[in-house]
């Protein structure tokens, strides 16, 4: 190759590389959507806090409520996570040839910082009690009445990420009879002086003999000095004190708070389907 051609080649390498990256990036921005034919949408106004929650329900293919009773996954941050969780549930149930579940995506009513946090440490926190009341007294009964879902505790799953994971961990502690399965992803267990660990300790005797499934996930790159140690402490507490628990954790390599969400959702759902 002549010197002139070599020089020309070197000049073009950065342009070509960046063009490839641009095309890859722009192509990857498309969001996957769950099948509209299998999605029902309803709105429910909470009597506890007055907010109206948009609920999306993802149905299994060949949905037969009169014949089958379906397990239900209640997904927090439903507006972000409903489609992904619904698609993954379908894929996992198809691959393993097992019964699929109903996926209930809970939209935002009040701000998520209010709905998902247990105590009022600022003006934008502390509404979890009312939000839980909405789920327990309005949303779940609505699902049972309108969609014929299984009413057993062991058939209900709650899935949450970040503040949603915090909410799920606190429901585990204070209202353990409501859900039998918990998928807690990058949970904000540092919140309000480790209140989740305090609640677990306070309610342990009440909960520790009950059967449950808990999957905890986090990103290994979540290194802001507040996530890893409480996550590990909560996991070890469950491992050491709960006699009838199916428990697993995953630390997703090289991924941070948002990057680890979807890989951990996949691992959490797989764990649930394989161990329910």
């Amino acid at each position: 190759m002549s010197a002139k051609n070599k020089s020309k080649m070197f000049k073009n390498i950065p342009t070509i590389a960046i063009a490839i990256m641009l095309l890859s990036f722009l192509g990857s921005c498309k969001k996957e959507v769950f099948s509209p034919e299998l999605t029902k949408e309803i709105s429910i106004q909470s009597t506890a806090n007055g907010a109206t929650y948009d609920i999306k329900v993802g149905l299994p293919a060949n949905y037969e409520p009169g014949v089958e009773k379906y397990a239900t996954i209640y997904v927090l941050d439903g507006e972000e996570n409903f489609d992904f969780v619904s698609n993954q549930c379908k894929a996992i149930s198809d691959k393993n040839v097992v019964d699929n579940v109903l996926v209930v995506g809970i939209g935002y009513g009040k701000d998520r910082s209010i709905d998902y946090t247990p105590t009022k440490i600022s003006s934008a926190t502390g509404g979890a009690t009312e939000f839980l009341n909405f789920i327990e007294t309005q949303l779940i009964p609505e699902m049972e009445e309108q969609f014929g879902v299984d009413t057993a505790r062991s058939s209900r799953v709650i899935l949450g990420h970040s503040y949603g994971g915090l909410f799920g961990a606190n429901v585990f502690c204070i209202d353990n009879e409501l859900f039998g399965n918990y998928i807690l992803l990058s949970p904000s267990l540092w919140f309000d002086d480790l209140i989740s660990l305090q609640l677990e300790k306070a309610y342990r005797e009440h909960n520790k003999h009950r059967s449950q499934l808990v999957f905890m996930g986090i990103g290994a790159a979540e290194n802001l000095g507040r996530m890893q140690a409480p996550f590990e402490a909560f996991y070890q507490t469950l491992r050491d004190n709960y006699s009838d628990i199916r428990l697993a954790k995953n630390r997703e390599e090289d991924l941070d708070h948002m990057g680890s969400k979807e890989p951990n959702i996949v691992k959490g759902l797989n764990y649930y389907f394989q161990n329910r």
Binding site: I18, S24, G27, S28, L197, N223, A229, E253, D254
Partner: protein, 205 residues
């Protein structure tokens, strides 16, 4: 997401732009000609865009074998999360990372300023430990050591005409996108890890 698109478009435009550099090297007597540096060493200090809680100590060696071809070696030692080492009974025992990257790109020369755009790739070693230490709970520690790929886009600006010059650079990390996944969520944390560095460079040749 939009910011990232604009940054990538900016880089694509800049490397496509023909530039206005002279074909001949500047001579000592040619005051208006662009300064072309063939070999430089550029130490700098910097922060990340995560509210500036990381401190970066960095050095870049840049070699231009041809005027428009730039090769670089970049090394850094980062002290991470300096401002939140003790939070809610959660103590950070240590938190640092070490980077070594090599890059290829191009430079555009103006009278006092040189713009360099580089594609960088290398490795990053991150090590940190957190301990939950509260009288109410059992003491729990977590130590994480990780060696990971590190690739992304770097922009460097050199300002000055003499042997010593000011240098400003920024690095946009791209890993783990798209190798671990093509979802733009994988880039979310990277927005907080864009580096901003300021230093003084020395022209060797």
């Amino acid at each position: 997401m939009n910011l990232l698109k604009y940054l990538l478009l900016f880089f694509a435009l800049m490397v496509s732009f023909p530039g206005v550099a002279q074909k001949e090297m500047a001579t000592a007597s040619d005051k208006h000609a662009p300064v072309v540096r063939l070999l430089t060493i550029e130490p700098a200090i910097g922060i990340h865009t995560n509210f500036g809680i990381d401190l970066l100590l960095t050095n870049m060696i840049q070699w231009n074998p041809y005027k428009r071809l730039s090769l670089a070696s970049y090394s850094s030692y980062n002290i991470n999360n300096i401002t939140q080492r003790n939070f809610n009974h959660i103590k950070t025992n240590y938190n640092y990372s070490i980077n070594q990257k090599f890059g290829v790109g191009t430079s555009f020369y103006f009278r006092k300023i040189t713009h360099t755009f580089l594609l960088m790739a290398g490795v990053k070693y991150t090590s940190y430990k957190e301990t939950l230490d509260s009288a109410d709970f059992e003491k729990t520690g977590v130590a994480i050591d990780a060696l990971s790929p590190d690739y992304g886009l770097m922009y460097s600006l050199k300002w000055g005409r003499k042997k010593c010059f000011f240098t400003v650079r920024t690095y946009l990390p791209l890993y783990p996108w798209p190798t671990k996944g093509s979802n733009p969520l994988y880039l979310d944390g990277n927005m907080n890890n864009i580096s901003l560095e300021l230093g003084v460079g020395i022209k060797i040749r």
